[in-house]
Symmetry: C2
Subunit: 146 residues, 2 copies
């Protein structure tokens, strides 16, 4: 009888052992995914949008425009305080763009991050690359719920 119970217990321990390993694997698999999901979904309540419009001087070449675009688009890789970035060229159909052809939106989490961005060497480099070709630059910042 004791021997029978022993076999019963050994059987249970064997299966429980397998399950234990399986569970550990599941937890190991689940945890990073769950954490990264939470991080992805965790949106700040407010963000600071920094909207920049470019109007190039007449006669600016396509290459010079491309250089300015590339300089702007390189900023998120160089300035850690940028939370988000997008840009595009005008495709409006209302003829109210006032000659502005490029819109860049740099997003920050707070004013301190914007304060790091403005004097950053990479931002200053963008200014020195693009300013010679710019007829007008327009900047408007606002707080938004993302």
């Amino acid at each position: 009888m004791v021997r029978n119970l022993l076999y019963l217990v050994v059987g249970m321990v064997l299966v429980a052992g397998c399950v234990s390993v399986h569970k550990t694997e599941r937890i190991t698999e689940d945890k990073p995914a769950a954490v990264s999901k939470i991080q992805q979904d965790k949106k700040p309540p407010l963000v600071l949008r920094h909207v920049v419009l470019f109007r190039f001087k007449d006669g600016t070449t396509n290459q010079q425009i491309k250089d300015a675009e590339n300089a702007f688009c390189s900023l998120p890789g160089k300035i850690g305080s940028i939370y988000d970035f997008e840009w595009g060229t005008d495709v409006s159909i209302e003829n109210r763009s006032e000659g502005f052809t490029h819109c860049f939106i740099v997003t920050f989490l707070n004013e301190a991050d914007r304060a790091q961005y403005l004097p950053h060497p990479a931002h200053k480099e963008l200014v020195s690359i693009s300013q010679p070709y710019l007829d007008k630059i327009l900047v408007i910042d606002y707080w938004a719920k993302p």
Copy 2:
């Protein structure tokens, strides 16, 4: 010996049975969460941003500005083709806003949705409410990866 094996198998089946129930529960718990996550994360590859800047005439009252803001902010509730909307008032520190104080960004999924928006009665109402007080309106649209 056969009896011992029987006890072993019974022990394994007992534990496996418990685990099976546990696993079923886990799957039932995981499934809806996984599905809703996929739905939440389903972003369109590109969106059409419609950026509108307002510069009010000198002497426009706070109430007249509020009326224009309210008319704009009511559009997402009235025009189904609006995919996303955000707005804010200028807090830039570079003195390059050219007198523009308000930025509204209306997002569409495609040009057809923008084509529905522009002549929509609610949009026309916004124009008739705000235009008398506007010194200048600037519009730039661009395609962006959201």
